[in-house]
């Protein structure tokens, strides 16, 4: 019985052969089978991927928008109360573990205030369609996306602030000011546009960390994405699934980096996409 099982899973072969077989299968797009669920790993992952992309995408957009806004505000009022406040806030979120932020948000907004649902992705058994379903999912999305986004918001705010201060001291800004360009226009067209380049580079690199962080957030909020899948696989010692999630997220990161490089050429015409 034991020998038969070993032969069935290929565990009777030497480790190197097992690795070669695994890599060979991966190259053919076969990530193996989850022995707990008896289903192909790739299917399991693809089924869960949209939920994760929705969560990380929302968090990313929120982090970029809020981070750049706060960073720009801080740079504009450098040395004043608003600047110190934003800097302290950014430093604080930078130092807080993601999963703890999530738990605290649950504690405040679900347990004490009872405003938002604390786990899951939609109301169970409510069979909603159209707009009602979108609104329903959006309610469940708020807390996890906020949790994941706040940390990166802090990172982008600090980066935007530093980058804007550096650009603001350059000669072309003084020229623009000298020829009488309105201050708001200088800020938007001259400083911000140039200051955004390093922020975007960094954001592209960090996309991978965002997916890694989503494991923790999905665990806290029981969000049915690949992070939750990885956590369940971890508990069940279903390593094929864990490795599959690892591979798929790595590929996603590479794709995302490529996308950032292309975006770079759009934002800065001086960069030529080779």
């Amino acid at each position: 019985m034991l020998a038969q099982l070993r032969a069935q899973f290929g565990l009777d072969k030497p480790l190197t052969t097992q690795l070669a077989i695994y890599v060979g299968h991966v190259l053919q797009g076969d990530l193996g089978t989850s022995f707990r669920q008896g289903r192909p790993v790739l299917g399991l992952i693809l089924e869960r991927l949209p939920a994760t992309l929705l969560l990380t995408g929302t968090a990313f957009v929120f982090a970029i928008a809020a981070g750049i806004t706060l960073g720009a505000l801080a740079a504009q009022r450098v040395g004043r109360v608003a600047d110190s406040l934003i800097t302290i806030l950014a430093l604080g979120f930078y130092a807080t573990p993601l999963f703890w932020v999530g738990l605290m948000l649950v504690l405040v907004f679900s347990v004490w205030l009872n405003w938002l649902p604390s786990f899951g992705m939609q109301t169970v058994g409510a069979d909603l369609h159209g707009w009602a379903a979108v609104v329903d999912i959006a309610q469940y999305l708020v807390l996890p996306a906020l949790t994941l986004g706040l940390f990166y918001m802090a990172v982008y705010a600090r980066l935007t602030r530093a980058s804007m201060l550096e650009v603001a001291s350059q000669d072309f800004v003084r020229t623009a000011r000298a020829k009488g360009v309105p201050e708001g226009r200088i800020l938007r067209r001259h400083i911000l546009r140039n200051a955004l380049l390093p922020v975007i580079t960094f954001a592209g690199i960090q996309a991978g960390q965002l997916i890694g962080g989503s494991i923790l957030v999905e665990t806290v909020f029981a969000w049915p994405g690949i992070g939750r899948l990885a956590f369940d696989a971890l508990l069940a010692r279903d390593y094929q699934v864990l490795l599959g999630v690892f591979l798929v997220t790595s590929i996603l990161v590479v794709l995302f980096n490529l996308l950032t490089d292309l975006l770079y050429a759009v934002i800065d015409p001086r960069v030529q996409a080779a």
Partner: protein, 277 residues
């Protein structure tokens, strides 16, 4: 040393950070004096609310003292943070020094290798490594070190590239000093200041990573840790908020302190950059 201390003390946040850090270290050192019992032992009724003379941060679902858990957890966090940072500094500095000093094909090879590790989502890699090698102190330290060395390599390589063409290095070469002597005695000491700043931020990051791992149940099963305590409090958060709030505050304060110290060190070691900000 004196002007350095004065420059450091000019940054109020950095001084505050150092004070918090000293407090955390003191808690870790005195854990078995203040709490002369195992943090895993039952100390009172389960779910005892905090601010009570018996258990001033409350007890958890098995009646374990939360304050004792935090004190013993400080040891684990600081230990893992320090050791894993030391290991990743060792890997990162060696590779960075080789790449920056040797240059050419070797440099290319090392940097592609580094980029490979930088692209892989680090937290997931750490999870996979700890899960496969079964969670214990050694595997956790190794996993954190393996995912956090790439920035060190990049920094050291950049420093070596800019330093190795300088006159004092050329002078050493003309004097016939060996390559190892040039690398360790001439160049490395001059590349230390960015390394020190980076190291303090890496300890902070390692503590965050460790708490994430033990939150997911990948901590050393014999050691009480902050992440584990938050993970245990997660399912009973409606009943006992103190179980997850206080360990989180401990992580927050420690990581914040390390970040502040890192910033202060950066300002003090690099006064010209600090004034521009």
């Amino acid at each position: 040393m004196k002007p350095f201390l004065r420059a450091y003390a000019r940054n109020k946040g950095a001084v505050l950070g150092l004070m918090i850090l000293a407090l955390v270290a003191l808690t870790a050192a005195l854990a078995n004096v203040v709490f002369p019992f195992s943090p895993w032992d039952m100390q009172g009724a389960p779910f005892q609310p905090p601010f009570d003379p018996d258990a001033w941060l409350g007890t958890d679902s098995l009646g374990r003292d939360v304050a004792a858990g935090i004190a013993y957890g400080a040891r684990v966090s600081l230990l893992i943070g320090a050791v894993s940072t030391a290991v990743s500094l060792l890997i990162g500095v060696s590779l960075g020094a080789i790449a920056g000093y040797a240059g050419g094909l070797l440099d290319d090879a090392v940097m592609r290798f580094t980029e490979f590790f930088q692209t892989i989502p680090s937290f997931i890699l750490a999870i996979v490594l700890v899960a496969i090698f079964s969670p214990n102190l050694g595997s956790i330290v190794a996993a954190i070190a393996i995912v956090s060395w790439p920035p060190v390599t990049r920094v050291i390589r950049a420093e070596f590239l800019s330093l190795r063409g300088r006159e004092f290095v050329q002078a050493a070469e003309v004097l016939g000093r060996s390559r190892t002597a040039i690398v360790f005695r001439e160049i490395l000491p001059n590349a230390l200041s960015p390394l020190i700043v980076l190291a303090s931020l890496m300890v902070a990051n390692a503590i965050l990573l460790e708490s994430g791992l033990s939150f997911l149940g990948l901590g050393d099963p014999n050691l009480m840790s902050w992440g584990f305590m938050i993970g245990a409090g997660r399912s009973v958060i409606r009943l006992a908020w103190w179980m997850s709030v206080f360990p989180g505050v401990a992580i927050f304060l420690t990581v914040l302190a390390l970040n502040l110290v890192g910033e202060g060190l950066g300002d003090a070691l690099n006064p010209r950059l600090a004034r521009r900000r």
